[in-house]
């Protein structure tokens, strides 16, 4: 294969964005602009599907590797995928077109700029998931913040500036330390090539500090407790499409980073810090679930539930068990679909009533039945009902954790009870009950594009709930190899 498929995946959205940049946004050509963006992202999606088909699932080697010299003897532009990264690329290319379709209801001004931000962000995200050089990874990882910052800051709600800065400062603060760590690694090993670092390992003397530096960045982005408070604010102020991108893709970068770098590069340190991760994750699951219970703003509720769900993810990753890590990846994919859908569901009623407060609603089931059915489905997926993708992830994670630590598994399982309570209570207050607010009577049920988007998210949510094999199959070899490597390095103490 000489065709640089990964670079194409990274570049294509940017090229689309470039086109948009040179098109002036007026009322008349808004449709054209949207179609250009949509077309680009759909081509990218098809390309990533093609990548998935070509992908050889039987090996854990990196595939489709491309390497170009960037700065002589220092940085190489190197990309490649294994079973772990490919699913995240697919998630990114799948969510982006849906986001683009969703904009006609929510974005009223500067449409072409918005779409440019979305497409650029897609480029960066794909870059994050396939870069095999730490510096390249860092660049993509940080660059991804900028479009998000703009999306919140320009198209956000009333307190958008506060939220945008909170988001930016929080995430940047962690990342500075990661940059220092990357430079240190270069001085220690003379390379930032991930594959070579995997082979040579990193001196155990430095691992703890390096691990902590990476952790500070990933923990903020996950977000883990107690550095999660930027997320509810960011979500509340972000426009619907922004929330979707944030929840579905941006949060997954850190989970991916934990697997790829924390486990891959610093096994000895990961072993030492596992209790820390467990503690923070369990606190995140329990605390944020209780907080979610009391939210009055729908978006905040879902944002807090995201923190809890990501708590399961970090928990599963550090079990270093096949079930745990596989569960985490499935949980991330599932959360990508479900949280995206839930934010879209909030967006649907927000576009109609301009309120995100739960008590505005109630009794809308007979007015907008299609919406209610789909919202119910995603509610159930969020609370991890068997038959939805949410269950497979959560159950596998908890199984993995149980093997490692009883107490953690018991406490984490308690989150499942609270999860059911806050999701069902949210649904009940919004959809069921007597119709008191008579303004709601004018609500129109899902239009064609909304129905299409939500169905696109519903189908994989159900499909992977009943048949998660395509996902597990893809990651299985890579993960078992990762675990073997981890244990091997741990035994040899590198």
């Amino acid at each position: 294969m000489n065709f640089p498929i990964l670079s194409s995946l990274i570049l294509l959205p940017s090229i689309g964005a470039l086109f948009l940049f040179f098109t002036k946004s007026t009322k008349n050509n808004n449709v054209t602009i949207k179609y250009v963006a949509l077309f680009t992202s759909i081509v990218n999606f098809l390309l990533s599907i093609y990548l998935w088909i070509l992908f050889d699932k039987s090996t854990s080697e990196f595939q489709f590797v491309e390497q170009r010299i960037w700065i002589q003897d220092f940085i190489n532009y190197k990309v490649g995928v294994d079973g772990i990264s490919i699913l995240f690329i697919l998630l990114t290319t799948f969510i982006t077109p849906l986001c683009i379709i969703s904009v006609n209801n929510s974005i009223k001004k500067r449409l072409s700029e918005f779409l440019i931000a979305v497409l650029i962000m897609e480029s960066f995200m794909i870059g994050v998931f396939c870069s095999l050089d730490l510096v390249v990874f860092y660049l993509f990882f940080e660059a991804g913040l900028i479009p998000m910052f703009l999306i919140i800051g320009i198209w956000g709600g009333a307190r958008r500036v506060y939220s945008a800065f909170k988001f930016f400062l929080y995430t940047l603060l962690g990342s500075v330390l990661m940059l220092v760590a990357i430079i240190t690694i270069y001085f220690l090993n003379g390379t930032t090539d991930v594959v070579e670092l995997y082979k040579s390992g990193i001196d155990i003397k430095y691992q703890n500090l390096l691990w902590l530096a990476f952790f500070s960045s990933f923990a903020v982005k996950t977000p883990m407790w107690p550095v999660h408070t930027w997320l509810p604010d960011a979500h509340v102020e972000a426009p619907t499409a922004g929330s979707v991108l944030l929840a579905a893709i941006l949060l997954k970068m850190a989970g991916y980073g934990f697997i790829r770098f924390s486990l891959g590069l610093f096994p000895a340190a990961s072993e030492i810090f596992t209790p820390l991760i467990y503690t923070l994750s369990v606190i995140a699951i329990i605390f944020t679930s209780f907080i979610a219970l009391m939210q009055e703003d729908m978006k905040k509720l879902i944002a807090y539930s995201s923190v809890a769900h990501m708590g399961y993810v970090t928990l599963g990753i550090f079990t270093i068990q096949q079930q745990g890590i596989e569960g985490s990846i499935i949980q991330m994919i599932s959360h990508g679909l479900v949280a995206a859908a839930l934010f879209l569901c909030v967006g649907v009623v927000y576009d109609r009533m301009h309120s995100r407060l739960i008590n505005t609603y109630g009794g809308i089931v007979s007015i907008i039945p299609k919406y209610s059915v789909l919202f119910m489905l995603f509610t159930l997926a969020a609370l991890g009902l068997p038959g939805t993708s949410g269950f497979v992830g959560e159950f596998l994670i908890l199984m993995g954790v149980f093997k490692d630590n009883f107490l953690v598994a018991v406490i984490a399982s308690l989150g499942v009870i609270i999860g059911a309570a806050y999701m069902l209570w949210l649904y009940k207050r919004v959809v069921f009950g007597k119709l008191i607010n008579t303004d709601l009577k004018q609500m129109i049920d899902l239009n064609r594009s909304e129905l299409f988007i939500l169905s696109c998210l519903a189908i994989p949510t159900l499909f992977f709930g009943f048949y998660p094999d395509p996902l597990i199959n893809t990651i299985e070899v890579s993960i078992s190899d990762l675990i073997d490597q981890y244990n091997f390095k741990l035994a040899g103490k590198i």
Binding site: Y170, F290, Q323, E326, P386, F406, I417, K428, F466, P468
Partner: protein, 637 residues
Amino acid sequence: MEISIIALPLIASIISGFFGKFIGDRNSEIITSLLVSISAIFSILVLYEVIANQYEENLLIAKWISSGSLEVNWSMKIDSLSAVMLVVVTSVSALVHIYSIGYMSHDPHKPRFMAYLSLFTFAMLMLVTSDNFIQLFFGWEGVGLCSYFLIGFWFKKDSANKAAIKAFVVNRVGDFGFALGIFLIFYLFGTVNYSEVFQQISTITDKNLTFLGIEINAIDLICLLLFVGAMGKSAQILLHTWLPDAMEGPTPVSALIHAATMVTAGVFLVVRCSPIYEYSEFALNIITTVGMSTAFFAATVALVQNDIKKIIAYSTCSQLGYMFFAAGVGAYNVAMFHLFTHAFFKALLFLGSGSVIHAFKDEQNINNMGGVWKKLPYTYAMMIIGTLALTGFPFLSGFYSKDAIIEFAYLRGNTTGYYAAGIGIFTAFLTSIYSWRLIFKTFHGSYNNKIVKIDETHESPIVMLVPLALLSIGAIFAGLFFKELFIGSVGSANFWGDSIFFLKPLSADHPPLWFLLLTPILVILSIPLAYYLFVKNRNLPEQIADINKPLYQFLINKWYFDELYDVLFVKSSKKFGLFLWKFFDLKIIDGFGPDGISSLIKKFSVKANKFQSGYIYQYAFVMLIGFSALLTFLIVK
């Protein structure tokens, strides 16, 4: 054919749920009823095969989850245990489907209702035919979900929505234990398939685990965790609070889900896991204790309730308690027998009460009924049959199953056994009293309804009466016909085969004759007693209540469980959530984190601003100070 038993209800549900609008109300009713009935007929054929030819099969439908050593398949396991459950589930479900055509005739959302019923049937069938714990869990949560939908079916009623959420969340508490049990099984055996787990169980009898410093036997722990799940689903004491509230749903739902099928899933679980439970004397004693406590507790509460459905709901709770204590004394087959007979007479009672409610135009308080037995002759007759069967009147189905439970408890020969037998007899007496109270207050005495005139009450349509008639046949004969097969000393071992495991065979002795006669006599004597109390001398019960005011209050408030839980869990959770949010997140994390730092930086920059005042003499002064400090430093060094 086997797979179509499961598939047909699912298809019915999809058709009615998604296309109900297009095919019309009547068509969706017919299609769902028909498909579920076919499924019922197939189930009966399968049971026949099992009885006649010891038919056993484990069909593989598809792969589900495989991760590392975990292999889970969608599968269908047919043995005597699942065949019995198949028949119970599909036949009651089919009758309830048909009955609902009449009962829900005025409801605007018929297709949705039928779709939920069929979906429930599907989930329940997945539960009983699973060959592994995870598919069981799928069905387990699936029936919980359908129960949630159906309890909250009248979505405009706030109480219905609350009851639905309560049912789901309380069940989740049970499922929490259940899931941990599954994790533990996977941890110990590396598999979740019944057959593989059951094979290995005898190899770990001495294994101990330490949790939070407490050392506990591994098998005991598995059994207890699984039983927590069973307690949730089968509404056993402590986790029972959702069941009476679940009566907010339409009555056919109560008959199908909250009497005959879903709530018995817990009993099914314990029986299915008999190869594990047999190795845990400790867990079995706990089950017996919980079962008999529930039986007694629920019966006392049922004595004073006034809502016709709540009485029957508590009665169900109580009967489930009987099933558990049968399982707890090791008589799993007797538990299954009672489950089987109970499905008929309890569904009959619920559907009958539905017919009464229908006649009184949605009145549920028995104090507002009375004197209508002539107006509702068929309903009355069939309710009588149901009551006789429930109370264990000789030669009706309840007589065989319930008395067998009490006998086996006695024959267990240990303290728990005798204790359970004693409570069992007393509870049987209470059961009889509250059941006849219901009948007498509903059908006899004076007519007490002020809204509906007596002439307006009417017998239900034929489509509702036929299912009642069929169920009453079951309520009369199920015990007599299946006694030998289920619990007979010769036939039963043959029939159950490997599906139920006995470490040591059940005692084949007989208790003394006086013991055998005790329960039936009490049950028969209670009829005139109830008649006297609730028809002849109606003031007497009120006087008794007045004298024992605290006791009466305690009972009518259902032992104050709801109030206690509200304070303990609901209110405190909300307070805790509010505290974490408003104080922890906003004040502490944000206050000392981003907001604090940014305001700190602001303060500093304001200070720094002041430095740049623009006055030359100030700058010169600062320079001078700096210069002298530097000089001093150099000299000292």
